[in-house]
């Protein structure tokens, strides 16, 4: 049996197996269809039904179960997550595991299409070291991603000295709903 104690390890291994079968396109299709539309259908339903409150409810439960180090901030027109200690990437780092070229892409790979279907879009950055931030707004909202500290105050992960340490590579998404919309990779 393959189980859930080491799920992140065989999940990441599976990305590379799929890439070898059908390239990055197949991996991206897997994130969208298998994870976003099937496995995480409960997230999709919550967000469609309750909007920002649904996001708070979904991530409140799942990140508590995974024992993540994070802060969630819910405003009237935005839901923000600051992830200091991603349990998923953290498991891979602490166990020295890497098969696929960018594990962190899987999150926006399934969350992006879920948000698009529910009428939201995403500003997001991840640093490949277990830290990331997300801002979800309605697709019609013209507001840009917020400057550091503006929404989450001292809890903004971008204030953490480790956010942009010399060995960090940042991936940037603006008003995105798909992993293919990655704007830049800042080294």
């Amino acid at each position: 049996m393959i189980g859930c104690y080491d799920f992140c390890a065989h999940y990441e291994w599976t990305f590379e197996w799929l890439r070898q079968q059908g390239g990055d396109e197949l991996v991206q299709r897997f994130w969208k269809e298998a994870i976003g539309e099937d496995s995480q259908v409960h997230a999709s339903a919550l967000i469609k039904e309750k909007a920002f409150a649904g996001m708070e409810e979904y991530w409140g439960k799942t990140l508590a179960e995974e024992e993540a180090g994070y802060v969630a901030t819910k405003g009237e027109e935005v839901f923000r997550l600051d992830m200091y200690d991603c349990p998923s990437k953290g498991f891979l780092i602490s166990n020295g595991l890497q098969q696929f070229h960018d594990y962190c892409d899987h999150c926006i790979g399934w969350i992006g299409p879920v948000m698009k279907a529910a009428g939201f879009r995403i500003d997001h950055e991840h640093n490949h070291c277990g830290k990331c931030w997300w801002e979800f707004r309605r697709a019609s909202d013209p507001e840009a991603g917020s400057p550091p500290g503006n929404i989450a105050g001292v809890n903004d992960v971008r204030i953490d000295p480790a956010w942009k340490s010399p060995d960090v590579t940042l991936d940037v998404f603006r008003r995105a709903t798909a992993v293919q919309e990655k704007l830049e990779r800042n080294v």
Binding site: C4, R29, S39, N95
Partner: protein
């Protein structure tokens, strides 16, 4: 905290997050639907041969006792599992009384990929073969018996009909 010499990876949690069973179930369905049944078996075999290579090595070094240790530690880290392990001189028998994955999928109202229980044979057989062992699975759909033999022991071939489709 998961920190056992029988398991290849460590985690700060004492058990895994059960919702990951949703993703495992969906992964099997996706591969079967998009790439075909043959690819699903190839995926399971690669998982056993490649991903579980550290487990195979542990079994190879430690024999049947290591197999018993591994499954004991493994199922202690799976939420909701009920199981019993018994050792004989020529085999280890793992009785899964409550499969944590099938239980969680049912509790969550999920459509279970019918072939779900077959992964236990294909994945584990691939890992076991590299260590000089073989597995036979009987049952499924929520509870099963998995028996590990040394390759030298005559065991009748695995019949997939002996593994129930899950629902």
């Amino acid at each position: 905290m998961i920190s056992s010499s029988a398991l290849p990876y460590r985690d700060r949690k004492s058990v895994g997050s059960a919702d990951f069973y949703f993703a495992i179930n969906s992964t099997f369905r996706f591969i079967r639907d998009v790439l075909g049944r043959h690819a699903l078996e190839a995926y399971w075999t690669s998982l056993g041969r490649e991903y579980l290579a550290p487990v195979s090595q542990y079994w190879k070094n430690g024999g049947l006792e290591a197999i018993a240790n591994y499954w004991n530690e493994f199922f202690k880290a799976e939420p909701g599992a009920e199981f019993e392990i018994s050792s004989r001189s020529d085999a280890v028998e793992l009785e899964v009384k409550v499969c944590p994955a099938i239980k969680h999928l049912r509790d969550g109202g999920r459509t279970i990929t019918p072939e779900f229980c077959q992964h236990c044979y294909f994945v584990t057989e691939a890992a076991a073969q590299q260590a000089g062992f073989t597995i036979r699975v009987q049952g499924g759909n929520g509870c099963c018996r998995q028996t590990f033999f040394s390759n030298g022991v005559a065991a009748s071939p695995q019949q997939l009909d002996n593994i129930q489709l899950a629902k």
